[in-house]
Symmetry: C2
Subunit: 186 residues, 2 copies
């Protein structure tokens, strides 16, 4: 299991980790229950406030925990957690305690009751900002109110889902096109 | 410039290409004008109908073309188009004709007036499905009504943006975790 030393990260820049489209783990808590789900359908919506749109199907056990607590943590797992990520996505919090079952460490958040998953590369503490599309599309808009990011490595090796059990693992990182940007576009 | 032979692809499965989070090119047309923009903030919202949420800032020249025509094409560029993608993102349709300037081929769509970008690996023809979040968040929901996808290679090498001129290029593709899925989850 990976263990990362983390530090505060500017919430307006979480796009650095989410815009490339990784599978994330959503942790939540309501009353005496916690849960974890995998999520592949999400998007950055705004820098400030730091808004993330998330599709959480009402078929998921986490749906009610998130809806009723109005918060969650978006955790970024790295490729060395791939087997655990797949197992989390193929089990339900109705049947098991996923933290215990998969040997993950719930760590207290700064602003929320929902726990961080300590083994993840980054943890984004989120408060519900807009639920007007929950009924229509199962889409929650969250504001990231606190971001914890690993001090090393600089960029994480992440897991990206294509459906049908197929994954893409993040590859080369490059800044070689940066010279083509206009100053105002950086 | 890459040239791909393409065939029809099931619209309910475009998540295969969009869920991993690549930068895409949005082409649009209104009256006698066409344009192309880069887009990194998008998400899959539903399989059937095939819905994609897209953030198109009102600061973009394409915003009005898309809003008024109520359609666009989401085109998937591969890594060999990276320089062109960056140049498209760093110029405006107010000043130049991007198809001409960057040597891209506008190809007639099946269901739309907006042109496909022939050099891209895939082209998803989209009709506007919901604009109730355009004013609040610049978010358009599109329905993919037709998908054209390259016959080879099986998976494209795509470009993923982190901000600040930094990109991640898609890496290894793997099906080795597929055996961990429950049949109903595939």
């Amino acid at each position: 299991m990976p263990r990362y030393t983390k530090k505060d990260f500017p919430v307006h820049n979480v796009r650095r980790f989410l815009e490339p489209g990784p599978i994330v783990l959503v942790s939540s808590a309501f009353k005496d229950e916690t849960n974890i789900m995998t999520m592949g359908w999400h998007m950055v919506m705004e820098f400030t406030p730091s808004l993330i749109g998330c599709c959480i199907s009402s078929a998921n056990h986490s749906f009610e925990l998130v809806r009723r607590s109005r918060q969650c943590v978006i955790n970024l797992p790295t490729a060395d957690l791939a087997v655990t990520v797949v197992k989390i996505g193929n089990s339900s919090g109705r049947d098991i305690d996923k933290f215990a079952e998969f040997g993950l460490t719930p760590k207290p958040a700064t602003h929320l009751r929902a726990p961080l998953i300590d083994e993840c590369y980054a943890n984004f503490e989120c408060q519900l900002a807009d639920m007007s599309w929950v009924k229509k599309y199962n889409i929650f808009v969250f504001e990231v109110v606190k971001a914890h990011v690993a001090t090393a490595p600089k960029t994480p090796k992440t897991i990206h889902y294509r459906g049908d059990g197929e994954f893409m693992i993040s590859g080369e990182e490059t800044r070689k096109y940066r010279r083509l940007f206009k100053p105002g576009m950086l």
